[in-house]
C-alpha cells in the first residue's frame, strides 16, 4: 500500500516538474499544429485525415512535407525516402538517448515514437528533479508534447478560420527554445566545442547546399568534426 502511495506521489511530482518545462512547446505545437491542420483542410483533407497523420507521424517538418506529397503524383516509395531524408537528424537523437532510455520497459516504445526535435531537446537538457522517477519525467514530457500536437492539429483543421488576431511570428517560440537549451548546454565547459561545431557545420552546409538540402550534409560534416576531434574533446 505504502509503496503504491509513494509511487503515486512520485508520479504526481513528475507531472508537476514536466509541465512547466513543456510550456514553450505547448505554445509552439498548438500554433504549428494548427498551421498543419489548416493546410490539410485547404488541401481537401478533413479532421479525420489530419488527425490520422498527426497520430501516426508526430513530426513537424515531416508532416508539412507530407502535405506536399499528398498533393503531388502518387509515389509512395519517393514519399518514404523523402521522409527519411527530412527526418534524418532524428537518428542522432536516438544515439544521444540510448543510455537515458535504457531499461524503461513498456514506456520505451512510446518515448522512441515521440522523439521529436523538442522532446529530444528537453530530455537531453533537463535533469529529472529529485524524488521523481526519470521514466515518469520523460514519459510526461513526451506525452504532453503529443497531446499539444494533436490538439493543435484538430483545432486548426476545424476552427482555423476563427482566429482573428495576428499570430505572425509566434512560431519563433521554438527557435527561442533551442537557443535557451543551447545556452543551458553551454554552461558545461566540455559541451562548448561540440555546440560551436554544430553551429558551424550547419552554417557551412547552409552556405554550400542551400536551405532545402541543409540537414544531411550538415550531419555528415558534424560527424566528421566530432569523430576527428574525439581525442581533443577527450570525453
Amino acid at each position: 500500500m505504502e509503496s503504491s502511495e509513494q509511487q503515486r506521489i512520485s508520479r504526481l511530482a513528475a507531472v508537476k516538474a514536466a509541465f512547466p518545462a513543456t510550456v514553450p512547446v505547448l505554445t509552439g505545437y498548438i500554433c504549428l499544429g494548427m498551421a498543419f491542420g489548416i493546410l490539410m483542410q485547404t488541401s481537401g483533407y478533413g479532421v479525420g485525415w489530419a488527425l490520422l497523420m498527426s497520430v501516426i507521424c508526430f513530426a513537424g517538418s515531416g508532416q508539412f512535407v507530407g502535405i506536399t506529397l499528398l498533393t503531388a503524383a502518387f509515389d509512395p516509395i519517393q514519399a518514404f525516402l523523402i521522409s527519411v531524408m527530412i527526418n534524418a537528424r532524428h537518428i542522432f537523437y536516438g544515439l544521444s538517448v540510448l543510455e537515458k532510455y535504457r531499461g524503461l520497459g513498456r514506456e520505451r516504445a512510446f518515448l522512441i515514437f515521440g522523439l521529436t526535435d523538442e522532446t529530444f531537446s528537453l530530455v537531453s537538457s533537463l535533469k529529472p528533479p529529485e524524488g521523481t522517477n526519470r521514466h515518469d519525467f520523460y514519459f510526461w514530457i513526451t506525452f504532453l508534447h503529443y497531446l499539444y500536437w494533436l490538439t493543435g492539429t484538430v483545432l486548426g483543421n476545424l476552427a482555423g478560420n476563427i482566429i482573428t488576431f495576428d499570430t505572425t511570428g509566434i512560431d519563433f517560440v521554438l527557435t527561442a527554445l533551442f537557443v535557451v537549451l543551447f545556452l543551458e548546454q553551454w554552461k558545461k565547459k566540455e559541451n562548448r566545442a561540440a555546440g560551436v561545431s554544430g553551429i558551424l557545420c550547419a552554417v557551412a552546409s547552409l552556405a554550400g547546399f542551400g536551405p532545402e538540402n541543409l540537414v544531411i550534409p550538415a550531419m555528415v560534416l558534424l560527424l566528421i568534426v566530432l569523430l576527428g576531434g574525439r581525442r581533443r574533446l577527450c570525453i
Partner: protein, 111 residues
C-alpha cells in the same frame, strides 16, 4: 483531395514509416541488452550540444540575409533571448520575452 482515399492512406503510411524509421534506427542497431561501442557512447555525449546548435541554424535557414531587413528581427530576438537568459536564467521568461519581441518586430517594426 488530389489523390483518392486509398492512395492518400498509402502516402500517409509511407510518410509515417519514413519518419519513424529515423527515430527507431539507433535503438534497432544498438539493442538494450548489448553495450554500444565506445564511439557511440562518445557521440551520445557530444551530440546534444551539437544538435542544439544545428537546430538553431535550421530554424533560421529560410531567413534571407541579402534582402531587407537582413535577418534583423531574428538576430535581435535571439540577442534578447541570450541577454534575458544570462540576466535572469529563467527558461520561460527568456523564451516568452524573445518571442514577444520577435512578434513585435515582424508585425510592427519591419512589417
Amino acid at each position: 483531395m488530389h489523390l483518392g482515399p486509398l492512395q492518400s492512406v498509402v502516402i500517409i503510411l509511407a510518410t509515417a514509416a519514413g519518419i519513424q524509421l529515423t527515430r527507431w534506427l539507433p535503438f534497432l542497431l544498438f539493442p538494450e541488452k548489448k553495450e554500444p561501442p565506445r564511439v557511440i557512447l562518445y557521440l551520445g555525449k557530444v551530440l546534444p550540444a551539437a544538435m542544439m546548435g544545428l537546430l538553431v541554424v535550421y530554424c533560421l535557414k529560410d531567413v534571407s540575409w541579402t534582402a531587407a531587413p537582413h535577418g534583423a528581427p531574428e538576430l535581435l530576438a535571439i540577442l534578447a533571448v541570450v541577454v534575458l537568459h544570462r540576466w535572469k536564467g529563467n527558461v520561460l521568461l527568456s523564451i516568452a520575452g524573445g518571442t514577444a519581441l520577435y512578434m513585435l518586430l515582424v508585425q510592427a517594426v519591419f512589417a
